[in-house]
């Protein structure tokens, strides 16, 4: 196994870890962290496998995609954090309100 594959596997591991964190944690800040970690895992898969070019320079297209992804991720994080603060101010808890309550 070469370095690109090793890092791609780490990326998959991060994706799964993040997904697990997203499911088990109730706290919204923790869920936001988990989503960011999932995203980083995917970016790692994209960039790591772009290095399968042998001696030639790596494929630049996934690099550009990841830069796009990083900017999208920070935008989504900013909105999620603000929404979390608003919700907490409204309910007193940084968690999703229980369903079914009127």
């Amino acid at each position: 196994m070469s370095a690109p594959f090793f890092y791609a596997l780490v990326g998959i591991g991060l994706f799964s870890l993040g997904l697990y964190g997203l499911i088990v944690h109730a706290h919204l800040l923790r869920k936001i962290l988990a989503l960011n970690i999932m995203g980083s895992g995917i970016f790692l898969v994209l960039v790591a496998l772009a290095k399968r070019t042998g001696e030639a320079p790596p494929d630049a297209v996934p690099h550009a995609m990841v830069i796009t992804g990083v900017v999208v991720a920070v935008s989504a994080t900013a909105l999620a954090l603000t929404l979390m603060l608003k919700l907490t101010a409204e309910t007193g808890r940084a968690e999703l309100p229980e369903k079914g309550r009127e």
């Binding site: 594959f5 772009a50 399968r52 297209v61 990083v70 900017v71």
Partner: protein, 321 residues
């Protein structure tokens, strides 16, 4: 040579396991503040991984945006959260409930393990060599107007993605603003040290941003990295209690925010009208046009990121009206 590969493997192994460990700790450590700090450390290690994978452009973006600005946003949100909930969040005891929960989630955990194993298999089934689009990128680089392939993809080959991405950034700010306002007023002086630091660093950061922007045409760098550095300067100013002048927070601010995506749209239309396809750069003028595009976008990105850090739509304070 043998020793070198062994060293490389040691480095890769440490880095990979470090990434996984930090992610795990950021998700499981009971204190939220620690979790955020661990996440920022995770971002910095990611930057190192990008360098290792020959992706310096991504490394710069990650360090500035992924670790830096996201970290600042998280810390600011954490501080506000502690205010809202009255410091309750600082130390949530790991209660019995949490431990029961952990057992409660064995099923998703097992499913996830299976999914992970499956994805491992998929990754390893990929061919060991693949050029992707690197040949196409290389052979069209001459007519793209820049010599850094990543910038060529971002601004020229897939410039349409970047146009939409600029709108995503603006949209996030619109969303944040639509959730509420923050009153703009000058707070008490934050202290001599921070003030001095801001005074020294802000001009330097602006210089670095300009350098990154310029160098992006042929070396790692570009509008997003430069914009992030500019955004960091803005965050530093906001931290040292600098606030924009009341007259600037109405339409001048909005204009600066819109300018980035707007220049993209305007250029897209102009290039369509002259060349026949959306965002089709004429090879001869591509370099200068991309530089103009990036320069305007950088300023817009920087201001948008700083505004995201500030939070709600800035309004004049009552004392200032």
């Amino acid at each position: 040579m043998e020793a070198l590969t062994l060293l490389e493997w040691g480095f890769d192994g440490l880095l990979g396991l470090g990434l996984l460990w930090l992610a795990w700790r950021a998700l499981t450590c009971p204190e939220l503040f620690k979790a955020i700090v661990l996440f920022i450390a995770f971002g910095l290690l990611m930057a190192l991984a990008w360098v290792r994978l020959d992706a310096p452009d991504v490394a710069l973006a990650e360090a500035a945006i992924g670790a830096g600005l996201t970290g600042a946003l998280l810390l600011a949100a954490f501080a506000k959260l502690s205010l809202v909930t009255g410091h309750e969040e600082l130390k949530p005891a790991r209660s019995e409930k949490n431990r029961i929960r952990f057992q409660h989630y064995w099923m998703p955990a097992t499913t996830l393990l299976l999914v992970t194993a499956g994805l491992f298999y998929v990754i390893l089934s990929l061919p060991p060599y693949a050029a992707g689009l690197s040949v196409e990128v290389a052979s069209n680089l001459d007519t793209s107007g820049v010599s850094n392939p990543v910038t060529a993809v971002l601004l020229n080959f897939r410039g349409y993605d970047t146009l939409l991405e600029m709108v995503v950034l603006l949209l996030a700010l619109l969303g944040v603003w639509s959730l509420g306002d923050t009153t703009i007023h000058r707070e008490a002086a934050p202290g001599l040290v921070l003030d001095t630091l801001a005074r020294v660093l802000v001009p330097l950061l602006i210089l670095v941003a300009a350098y990154l922007l310029w160098v992006g045409a042929h070396a790692p760098g570009g509008a997003f990295q430069a914009g992030a550095v500019l955004g960091a300067a803005g965050v530093l100013l906001l931290l040292s209690s600098w606030r924009p002048h009341a007259d600037l927070i109405a339409w001048p601010l909005r204009l600066m925010l819109v300018l980035g995506p707007a220049i993209f749209v305007i250029m897209a239309v102009l290039l369509y009208l002259t060349k026949g396809q959306l965002l089709e750069f004429p090879p001869a003028q591509a370099g200068i046009l991309i530089l103009i595009l990036e320069a305007v976008a950088t300023v817009s990105i920087g201001i948008t990121l700083a505004a995201l850090f500030l939070g709600g739509r800035p309004r004049r304070g009552k004392g200032q009206a």
